[in-house]
Protein backbone atom coordinates (compact mmCIF):
# COMPACT_ATOMS: atom_id res chain seq x y z
CA UNK A 1 0.00 0.00 0.00
CA UNK A 2 1.35 3.37 -0.92
CA UNK A 3 0.82 6.61 0.91
CA UNK A 4 -2.68 6.07 2.24
CA UNK A 5 -2.43 6.21 6.05
CA UNK A 6 -5.93 4.76 6.51
CA UNK A 7 -5.17 1.68 4.37
CA UNK A 8 -1.82 1.25 6.08
CA UNK A 9 -3.41 1.51 9.50
CA UNK A 10 -6.11 -1.05 8.71
CA UNK A 11 -3.62 -3.51 7.22
CA UNK A 12 -1.30 -3.16 10.20
CA UNK A 13 -4.12 -3.73 12.67
CA UNK A 14 -6.17 -6.18 10.64
CA UNK A 15 -6.49 -8.77 13.43
CA UNK A 16 -7.96 -6.19 15.81
CA UNK A 17 -10.94 -5.82 13.47
CA UNK A 18 -11.96 -9.44 14.13
CA UNK A 19 -12.30 -9.29 17.90
CA UNK A 20 -16.04 -9.76 18.33
CA UNK A 21 -17.32 -13.20 19.27
CA UNK A 22 -20.70 -14.67 18.32
CA UNK A 23 -22.97 -16.05 21.04
CA UNK A 24 -22.45 -19.76 21.73
CA UNK A 25 -26.08 -20.50 20.87
CA UNK A 26 -25.27 -19.85 17.21
CA UNK A 27 -23.61 -23.26 17.10
CA UNK A 28 -26.54 -24.95 18.84
CA UNK A 29 -28.79 -23.41 16.22
CA UNK A 30 -26.57 -24.79 13.45
CA UNK A 31 -26.40 -28.19 15.13
CA UNK A 32 -30.17 -28.34 15.47
CA UNK A 33 -30.68 -27.48 11.82
CA UNK A 34 -28.16 -30.13 10.80
CA UNK A 35 -30.00 -32.68 12.96
CA UNK A 36 -33.30 -31.77 11.33
CA UNK A 37 -31.73 -32.13 7.88
CA UNK A 38 -30.32 -35.53 8.78
CA UNK A 39 -33.72 -36.61 10.07
CA UNK A 40 -35.31 -35.49 6.83
CA UNK A 41 -32.64 -37.24 4.80
CA UNK A 42 -33.08 -40.41 6.86
CA UNK A 43 -36.86 -40.48 6.38
CA UNK A 44 -36.33 -39.76 2.73
CA UNK A 45 -33.99 -42.74 2.62
CA UNK A 46 -36.65 -44.93 4.15
CA UNK A 47 -39.16 -43.84 1.53
CA UNK A 48 -36.55 -44.38 -1.16
CA UNK A 49 -35.78 -47.86 0.16
CA UNK A 50 -39.43 -48.86 0.20
CA UNK A 51 -39.86 -47.46 -3.32
CA UNK A 52 -36.79 -49.38 -4.44
CA UNK A 53 -38.16 -52.62 -2.97
CA UNK A 54 -41.48 -52.13 -4.72
CA UNK A 55 -39.69 -51.42 -7.98
CA UNK A 56 -37.53 -54.50 -7.55
CA UNK A 57 -40.60 -56.65 -6.95
CA UNK A 58 -42.32 -55.21 -10.00
CA UNK A 59 -39.21 -55.78 -12.08
CA UNK A 60 -39.00 -59.40 -10.90
CA UNK A 61 -42.67 -59.87 -11.71
CA UNK A 62 -42.23 -58.41 -15.17
CA UNK A 63 -39.14 -60.53 -15.74
CA UNK A 64 -40.90 -63.72 -14.66
CA UNK A 65 -43.95 -62.85 -16.73
CA UNK A 66 -41.76 -62.21 -19.71
CA UNK A 67 -39.96 -65.50 -19.15
CA UNK A 68 -43.19 -67.48 -19.11
CA UNK A 69 -44.46 -65.71 -22.19
CA UNK A 70 -41.22 -66.65 -23.90
CA UNK A 71 -41.51 -70.23 -22.73
CA UNK A 72 -45.02 -70.45 -24.12
CA UNK A 73 -43.92 -68.95 -27.39
CA UNK A 74 -41.12 -71.51 -27.56
CA UNK A 75 -43.47 -74.44 -26.89
CA UNK A 76 -44.34 -76.47 -29.98
CA UNK A 77 -47.77 -75.84 -31.46
CA UNK A 78 -50.48 -78.32 -30.52
CA UNK A 79 -52.09 -80.80 -32.84
CA UNK A 80 -55.13 -78.53 -33.18
CA UNK A 81 -52.95 -75.93 -34.80
CA UNK A 82 -51.28 -78.29 -37.27
CA UNK A 83 -54.02 -80.71 -38.19
CA UNK A 84 -57.29 -79.45 -36.76
CA UNK A 85 -59.34 -82.09 -38.57
CA UNK A 86 -57.58 -84.90 -36.70
CA UNK A 87 -57.58 -83.22 -33.33
CA UNK A 88 -61.16 -84.24 -32.75
CA UNK A 89 -60.40 -87.85 -33.60
CA UNK A 90 -57.43 -87.78 -31.28
CA UNK A 91 -59.62 -86.49 -28.48
CA UNK A 92 -62.10 -89.27 -29.17
CA UNK A 93 -59.42 -91.96 -28.98
CA UNK A 94 -57.97 -90.41 -25.87
CA UNK A 95 -61.35 -90.49 -24.19
CA UNK A 96 -61.74 -94.14 -25.06
CA UNK A 97 -58.25 -94.94 -23.81
CA UNK A 98 -58.87 -93.11 -20.55
CA UNK A 99 -62.05 -95.05 -20.06
CA UNK A 100 -60.27 -98.38 -20.64
CA UNK A 101 -57.49 -97.40 -18.32
CA UNK A 102 -60.03 -96.70 -15.60
CA UNK A 103 -61.58 -100.09 -16.09
CA UNK A 104 -58.16 -101.68 -16.10
CA UNK A 105 -57.16 -99.87 -12.95
CA UNK A 106 -59.49 -102.07 -10.89
CA UNK A 107 -57.47 -105.16 -11.97
CA UNK A 108 -53.96 -106.20 -11.37
CA UNK A 109 -51.60 -104.81 -14.00
CA UNK A 110 -49.30 -106.84 -16.14
CA UNK A 111 -45.82 -105.37 -16.40
CA UNK A 112 -45.50 -106.44 -20.01
CA UNK A 113 -48.80 -104.82 -20.98
CA UNK A 114 -47.73 -101.68 -19.23
CA UNK A 115 -44.48 -101.72 -21.15
CA UNK A 116 -46.28 -102.16 -24.43
CA UNK A 117 -48.64 -99.35 -23.61
CA UNK A 118 -45.69 -97.22 -22.74
CA UNK A 119 -44.03 -98.04 -26.04
CA UNK A 120 -47.19 -97.06 -27.87
CA UNK A 121 -47.32 -93.78 -25.94
CA UNK A 122 -43.73 -93.11 -26.94
CA UNK A 123 -44.57 -93.82 -30.56
CA UNK A 124 -47.45 -91.32 -30.31
CA UNK A 125 -45.13 -88.70 -28.84
CA UNK A 126 -42.55 -89.31 -31.56
CA UNK A 127 -45.15 -89.04 -34.28
CA UNK A 128 -46.50 -85.82 -32.75
CA UNK A 129 -43.00 -84.37 -32.68
CA UNK A 130 -42.46 -85.45 -36.26
CA UNK A 131 -45.72 -83.84 -37.25
CA UNK A 132 -44.63 -80.49 -35.86
CA UNK A 133 -41.53 -80.45 -38.03
CA UNK A 134 -43.03 -82.22 -40.98
CA UNK A 135 -42.84 -80.74 -44.46
CA UNK A 136 -46.28 -79.65 -45.71
CA UNK A 137 -46.88 -82.72 -47.88
CA UNK A 138 -46.20 -85.41 -45.28
CA UNK A 139 -48.60 -84.20 -42.61
CA UNK A 140 -51.48 -86.43 -43.67
CA UNK A 141 -49.38 -89.58 -43.62
CA UNK A 142 -48.08 -88.85 -40.15
CA UNK A 143 -51.53 -88.08 -38.84
CA UNK A 144 -52.89 -91.38 -40.15
CA UNK A 145 -49.99 -93.23 -38.48
CA UNK A 146 -50.75 -91.34 -35.34
CA UNK A 147 -54.37 -92.42 -35.41
CA UNK A 148 -53.25 -96.00 -36.10
CA UNK A 149 -51.24 -95.93 -32.92
CA UNK A 150 -54.23 -94.74 -30.99
CA UNK A 151 -56.32 -97.45 -32.51
CA UNK A 152 -53.71 -100.06 -31.57
CA UNK A 153 -53.68 -98.78 -28.04
CA UNK A 154 -57.42 -98.97 -27.75
CA UNK A 155 -57.40 -102.47 -29.16
CA UNK A 156 -54.68 -103.61 -26.82
CA UNK A 157 -56.55 -102.25 -23.85
CA UNK A 158 -59.77 -103.87 -25.02
CA UNK A 159 -58.14 -107.25 -25.34
CA UNK A 160 -56.52 -107.02 -21.97
CA UNK A 161 -59.82 -106.08 -20.44
CA UNK A 162 -61.62 -108.93 -22.19
CA UNK A 163 -59.09 -111.40 -20.99
CA UNK A 164 -59.27 -110.22 -17.43
CA UNK A 165 -63.03 -110.08 -17.38
CA UNK A 166 -63.50 -113.58 -18.81
CA UNK A 167 -60.74 -115.20 -16.71
CA UNK A 168 -60.39 -113.04 -13.63
CA UNK A 169 -58.04 -115.48 -11.86
CA UNK A 170 -55.69 -115.97 -14.81
CA UNK A 171 -52.06 -115.05 -14.39
CA UNK A 172 -50.16 -112.59 -16.48
CA UNK A 173 -48.98 -115.03 -19.14
CA UNK A 174 -51.89 -114.83 -21.58
CA UNK A 175 -51.74 -111.10 -21.34
CA UNK A 176 -48.22 -111.13 -22.65
CA UNK A 177 -49.29 -113.13 -25.66
CA UNK A 178 -52.10 -110.75 -26.31
CA UNK A 179 -49.85 -107.77 -26.09
CA UNK A 180 -47.23 -109.29 -28.33
CA UNK A 181 -49.76 -110.31 -30.98
CA UNK A 182 -50.69 -106.74 -31.76
Amino acid sequence: MQGDPLEQFVNRNRAAFDEELPEPDVWSGISQQLDAQQQRRRSWWQVARIAASVLLLLACGALLGGYFMYQRAQQPPSLEEIAPAYAEMEAEYQREIDQKYQQLASYQHSKVVEQDLKRLDEAVQDLKAELQHAPPGREEEIVSRLLQSYRAKVMLLERVLNRIQTKPTESEKPNIDEARSI
Binding site: D4, P5, L6, E7, F9, V10, N11, N13, R14, A16, F17, D18, E19, E20, L21, P22, E23, V26, W27, G29, I30, S31, Q33, L34, Q37, Q38
Partner: protein, 203 residues
Protein backbone atom coordinates in the same frame (compact mmCIF):
# COMPACT_ATOMS: atom_id res chain seq x y z
CA UNK B 1 21.22 -26.20 -9.50
CA UNK B 2 19.68 -27.26 -6.27
CA UNK B 3 19.62 -23.77 -4.93
CA UNK B 4 17.84 -22.46 -8.02
CA UNK B 5 15.30 -25.23 -8.22
CA UNK B 6 14.22 -25.57 -4.62
CA UNK B 7 12.34 -22.28 -4.15
CA UNK B 8 9.97 -23.09 -7.01
CA UNK B 9 9.33 -26.53 -5.59
CA UNK B 10 8.77 -25.10 -2.13
CA UNK B 11 6.44 -22.50 -3.53
CA UNK B 12 4.42 -25.12 -5.32
CA UNK B 13 4.20 -27.16 -2.18
CA UNK B 14 2.98 -24.17 -0.20
CA UNK B 15 0.33 -23.42 -2.81
CA UNK B 16 -0.93 -26.98 -2.66
CA UNK B 17 -0.94 -26.88 1.08
CA UNK B 18 -2.94 -23.70 0.98
CA UNK B 19 -5.81 -25.11 -1.06
CA UNK B 20 -5.86 -28.32 0.93
CA UNK B 21 -5.67 -26.69 4.37
CA UNK B 22 -7.91 -28.56 6.82
CA UNK B 23 -8.58 -31.18 4.15
CA UNK B 24 -9.00 -33.88 6.76
CA UNK B 25 -11.61 -31.86 8.64
CA UNK B 26 -13.39 -30.97 5.41
CA UNK B 27 -13.56 -34.60 4.34
CA UNK B 28 -14.98 -35.60 7.71
CA UNK B 29 -17.52 -32.78 7.45
CA UNK B 30 -18.56 -34.07 4.04
CA UNK B 31 -19.36 -37.39 5.71
CA UNK B 32 -21.50 -35.55 8.27
CA UNK B 33 -19.15 -35.93 11.22
CA UNK B 34 -20.54 -33.50 13.80
CA UNK B 35 -17.27 -33.02 15.68
CA UNK B 36 -15.47 -32.10 12.45
CA UNK B 37 -18.31 -29.72 11.62
CA UNK B 38 -17.89 -28.03 14.96
CA UNK B 39 -14.15 -27.86 14.36
CA UNK B 40 -14.67 -26.11 11.02
CA UNK B 41 -17.13 -23.73 12.69
CA UNK B 42 -14.66 -23.05 15.49
CA UNK B 43 -11.93 -22.25 12.96
CA UNK B 44 -13.88 -19.76 10.87
CA UNK B 45 -16.87 -18.54 12.90
CA UNK B 46 -15.08 -15.61 14.53
CA UNK B 47 -13.75 -14.09 11.31
CA UNK B 48 -17.07 -14.71 9.59
CA UNK B 49 -19.05 -13.20 12.45
CA UNK B 50 -16.96 -10.02 12.33
CA UNK B 51 -17.44 -9.88 8.57
CA UNK B 52 -21.21 -10.18 9.07
CA UNK B 53 -21.10 -7.45 11.70
CA UNK B 54 -19.26 -5.09 9.36
CA UNK B 55 -21.74 -5.79 6.58
CA UNK B 56 -24.99 -5.79 8.57
CA UNK B 57 -24.11 -3.75 11.69
CA UNK B 58 -26.78 -5.37 13.87
CA UNK B 59 -25.54 -8.15 16.16
CA UNK B 60 -28.77 -10.13 15.88
CA UNK B 61 -28.72 -9.95 12.08
CA UNK B 62 -25.06 -10.93 12.04
CA UNK B 63 -25.67 -13.98 14.25
CA UNK B 64 -28.70 -15.12 12.26
CA UNK B 65 -26.73 -14.78 9.06
CA UNK B 66 -23.74 -16.59 10.53
CA UNK B 67 -25.97 -19.50 11.57
CA UNK B 68 -27.72 -19.78 8.22
CA UNK B 69 -24.46 -19.42 6.34
CA UNK B 70 -22.82 -22.30 8.18
CA UNK B 71 -25.87 -24.47 7.56
CA UNK B 72 -25.42 -23.57 3.87
CA UNK B 73 -21.70 -24.33 4.12
CA UNK B 74 -22.34 -27.86 5.41
CA UNK B 75 -25.11 -28.44 2.89
CA UNK B 76 -22.92 -27.37 -0.04
CA UNK B 77 -19.61 -28.74 1.18
CA UNK B 78 -19.85 -31.82 -1.04
CA UNK B 79 -19.40 -29.46 -4.02
CA UNK B 80 -16.14 -28.06 -2.61
CA UNK B 81 -13.22 -29.42 -4.66
CA UNK B 82 -10.22 -27.55 -3.17
CA UNK B 83 -9.88 -25.06 -6.04
CA UNK B 84 -9.42 -22.47 -3.29
CA UNK B 85 -8.86 -22.69 0.44
CA UNK B 86 -11.91 -23.75 2.38
CA UNK B 87 -11.70 -20.44 4.26
CA UNK B 88 -12.06 -18.45 1.04
CA UNK B 89 -14.88 -20.72 -0.06
CA UNK B 90 -16.78 -20.23 3.22
CA UNK B 91 -16.17 -16.49 3.10
CA UNK B 92 -17.70 -16.27 -0.34
CA UNK B 93 -20.87 -17.98 0.90
CA UNK B 94 -21.09 -15.60 3.87
CA UNK B 95 -20.47 -12.55 1.67
CA UNK B 96 -23.15 -13.62 -0.82
CA UNK B 97 -25.62 -14.23 1.98
CA UNK B 98 -24.87 -10.78 3.46
CA UNK B 99 -25.40 -9.13 0.08
CA UNK B 100 -28.67 -11.00 -0.42
CA UNK B 101 -29.82 -9.97 3.04
CA UNK B 102 -29.04 -6.32 2.30
CA UNK B 103 -30.63 -6.52 -1.14
CA UNK B 104 -33.80 -7.79 0.45
CA UNK B 105 -33.69 -4.57 2.45
CA UNK B 106 -33.44 -2.59 -0.78
CA UNK B 107 -29.74 -2.03 -1.22
CA UNK B 108 -29.06 -0.15 -4.44
CA UNK B 109 -25.39 0.51 -5.03
CA UNK B 110 -25.82 2.51 -8.22
CA UNK B 111 -28.66 4.57 -6.83
CA UNK B 112 -26.72 5.15 -3.68
CA UNK B 113 -23.74 6.38 -5.64
CA UNK B 114 -25.87 8.95 -7.41
CA UNK B 115 -27.56 10.06 -4.25
CA UNK B 116 -24.34 10.34 -2.29
CA UNK B 117 -22.66 12.28 -5.05
CA UNK B 118 -25.61 14.66 -5.27
CA UNK B 119 -26.36 15.23 -1.62
CA UNK B 120 -22.82 15.56 -0.40
CA UNK B 121 -20.71 17.88 -2.49
CA UNK B 122 -17.07 18.18 -1.37
CA UNK B 123 -17.30 18.52 2.36
CA UNK B 124 -16.15 21.84 3.74
CA UNK B 125 -14.71 20.14 6.81
CA UNK B 126 -11.82 18.76 4.80
CA UNK B 127 -10.37 22.14 3.99
CA UNK B 128 -10.95 23.59 7.43
CA UNK B 129 -9.27 20.75 9.26
CA UNK B 130 -6.92 18.94 6.91
CA UNK B 131 -4.65 17.32 9.47
CA UNK B 132 -4.97 13.56 9.73
CA UNK B 133 -6.71 12.58 12.93
CA UNK B 134 -5.27 10.02 15.31
CA UNK B 135 -6.42 6.62 13.99
CA UNK B 136 -7.59 3.87 16.30
CA UNK B 137 -9.32 0.57 15.59
CA UNK B 138 -12.34 1.73 17.57
CA UNK B 139 -12.54 5.01 15.68
CA UNK B 140 -12.35 3.25 12.30
CA UNK B 141 -14.93 0.66 13.33
CA UNK B 142 -17.31 3.30 14.59
CA UNK B 143 -16.89 5.39 11.45
CA UNK B 144 -17.48 2.30 9.27
CA UNK B 145 -20.80 1.72 11.01
CA UNK B 146 -21.84 5.21 9.96
CA UNK B 147 -21.00 4.65 6.30
CA UNK B 148 -23.97 4.15 3.97
CA UNK B 149 -24.52 0.48 2.94
CA UNK B 150 -22.95 0.73 -0.52
CA UNK B 151 -19.79 2.46 0.70
CA UNK B 152 -19.45 0.22 3.73
CA UNK B 153 -19.73 -2.97 1.68
CA UNK B 154 -17.19 -1.98 -0.94
CA UNK B 155 -14.83 -0.65 1.72
CA UNK B 156 -15.12 -3.86 3.78
CA UNK B 157 -14.75 -6.21 0.84
CA UNK B 158 -11.73 -4.38 -0.54
CA UNK B 159 -9.73 -3.29 2.48
CA UNK B 160 -10.67 -5.87 5.12
CA UNK B 161 -11.63 -8.97 3.18
CA UNK B 162 -8.98 -8.60 0.48
CA UNK B 163 -11.14 -8.86 -2.63
CA UNK B 164 -9.97 -6.88 -5.66
CA UNK B 165 -12.27 -4.56 -7.61
CA UNK B 166 -12.91 -7.09 -10.34
CA UNK B 167 -14.13 -9.63 -7.75
CA UNK B 168 -16.20 -6.99 -5.94
CA UNK B 169 -17.75 -6.08 -9.29
CA UNK B 170 -18.74 -9.73 -9.73
CA UNK B 171 -20.10 -10.08 -6.21
CA UNK B 172 -22.17 -6.89 -6.33
CA UNK B 173 -23.03 -7.12 -10.03
CA UNK B 174 -21.49 -3.69 -10.75
CA UNK B 175 -18.60 -2.65 -12.97
CA UNK B 176 -15.02 -2.68 -11.81
CA UNK B 177 -14.91 1.10 -12.30
CA UNK B 178 -17.97 1.57 -10.08
CA UNK B 179 -16.32 -0.51 -7.39
CA UNK B 180 -13.19 1.64 -7.61
CA UNK B 181 -15.05 4.93 -7.42
CA UNK B 182 -17.25 3.64 -4.59
CA UNK B 183 -14.17 2.62 -2.70
CA UNK B 184 -12.38 5.96 -3.02
CA UNK B 185 -15.55 7.80 -2.03
CA UNK B 186 -16.00 5.45 0.91
CA UNK B 187 -12.45 6.15 2.07
CA UNK B 188 -12.97 9.87 1.79
CA UNK B 189 -16.26 9.68 3.65
CA UNK B 190 -14.71 7.55 6.34
CA UNK B 191 -11.92 10.06 6.90
CA UNK B 192 -14.50 12.81 7.23
CA UNK B 193 -16.48 10.87 9.81
CA UNK B 194 -13.37 10.10 11.84
CA UNK B 195 -12.31 13.73 11.67
CA UNK B 196 -15.76 14.85 12.78
CA UNK B 197 -15.75 12.45 15.71
CA UNK B 198 -12.25 13.58 16.59
CA UNK B 199 -13.29 17.21 16.32
CA UNK B 200 -16.37 16.67 18.52
CA UNK B 201 -14.45 14.76 21.17
CA UNK B 202 -11.72 17.42 21.30
CA UNK B 203 -14.27 20.17 21.81
Amino acid sequence: MHAIKSPAVDNNHLKLDYASTHQEIVEKCKRGNRRAQFELYRLYSKAMYNLCLRMLRQEQDAEDLLQNSFVDVFAKLHTFRYQSSVGAWIKRIVVNNCINHLKRNRLQIEELEERQAGVHPPEPLEEEDSHDPELSVEAVKMAMRELPDGYRIVFTLYLLEGYDHREIGEILDISEATSKSQYSRAKKKLREIIRRHDFISRK
